[in-house]
Symmetry: C2
Subunit: 228 residues, 2 copies
């Protein structure tokens, strides 16, 4: 048996393409011989650090993305739905508190990324499926509750999420993504023989599989019906 | 037997991702039940009309694209190689003359898109494989010669390419792409029951296959070895 290849997934719950990438990578964790490491990061810091602009500012690109996400959501079986005002949700309200919260969940969890996975998914569900807030403490608590955290755990995570330690941890994860060449999310870094192979977006899985010597079985492995 | 689905491919030979999309669509012409219509278009007009900026202006994005194209070129088996100065080649020298030339080839060819396909490929090979000019009449002639056009045909096409008729035809193809929502290339428009289904880029073939009821067999259909 060969040792598992380490794959890091840098993401922010404010990014819908990250949700697609996240679900696909979580599904392939048990299909490919990989160890998936979730890296909650802050997209705002990436855009600023890379000098990038949101793609949605170009009207035709915005219209295309809306359509593209609708089609991909169905094909990937991820219940994505655009918020009424995506610009307000993504850029005015943003995700700094949410990603600090997720970072705090990861900091205090023990034994694997199960909690951070569930909390991230619930936050995505709020902003990118149910058009709900992800900035207020009450919103974060509700997501964590749905993810199965206890009241006392949530209280602890909320407190921890405003600490310097967590702020610095999120900053450092964001810097790490920038160092890998990030200019947006999701960013998947596959470690092959000590060399990082970097993939941006949710449309390079087939190529990624080819590079790591695995087989791409579509976004819903084990569900052939969805592939026609 | 069901009637063939019409698929339009809008492209510019200055765009490397268009080359990937072009070769894949040409390969699938005999695999899927489709009628492929080549639509030579001017990328400069698309960027201007859509208010879009070249992605390579963001340094991390430029570095990623260079790496991405290298990997995809191998995986797609298209001999892509970046010119020494991609910015000069793409944006200072540009492709207006080249795309007028391709438009003229299409205008005067008879019986299918064979000539326009071969000339487009030779132009891509010049700029995106051999780091050669595609702006001068001598360059265009050389490409056309390699594509199998006779001296007299080339002379005729060169003359035709500076006519108002051809300038207008290229403008109108570019406007058509904008009307379909283009903000870059390649743009693939699949006509399904009279409704256009639009795909941008060279990374939606699997989804496209799903949408048109065909099977995606990788970028090199019939060559399973390349897919691992």
């Amino acid at each position: 048996m060969t040792s598992k290849k380490v794959i890091e997934l840098f993401y922010d719950v404010v990014s819908p393409y990250s949700w697609l990438g996240f679900e696909v990578m979580c599904r392939y964790r048990s299909v490919w011989n990989i160890e998936l490491k979730l890296r909650p990061t802050f997209l705002g810091g990436i855009m600023h650090g890379a000098g990038n602009k949101p793609p949605g500012l170009v009207p035709n690109k915005f219209l295309y993305m809306t359509k593209d996400l609708k089609r991909l959501s169905e094909y990937f079986d991820v219940p994505l739905q655009s918020p009424t005002d995506p610009f307000e949700a993504m850029f005015q309200k943003g995700s700094l508190n949410a990603m600090r919260f997720v970072t705090a969940v990861q900091e205090r969890q023990t034994g694997g990324d199960e909690q951070v996975e569930r909390v991230s998914r619930e936050l995505w569900r709020r902003i990118w499926s149910e058009d709900k807030d992800i900035t207020e403490p009450a919103s974060l608590s509700e997501a964590a509750m749905k993810a199965g955290l206890s009241d006392s755990e949530i209280k602890e995570v909320l407190k921890l999420s405003t600490s310097k330690e967590i702020k610095d941890k999120l900053k450092s994860a964001t810097q790490k993504a920038l160092d890998y060449g990030a200019f947006g999310f999701p960013l998947v870094v596959c470690h092959l023989d000590g060399k990082p192979e970097v993939f941006f977006g949710s449309d390079r899985f087939e190529l990624m599989a080819h590079c790591i010597g695995e087989k791409w079985l579509g976004p819903q492995p084990g569900k052939p019906a969805a592939r026609l």
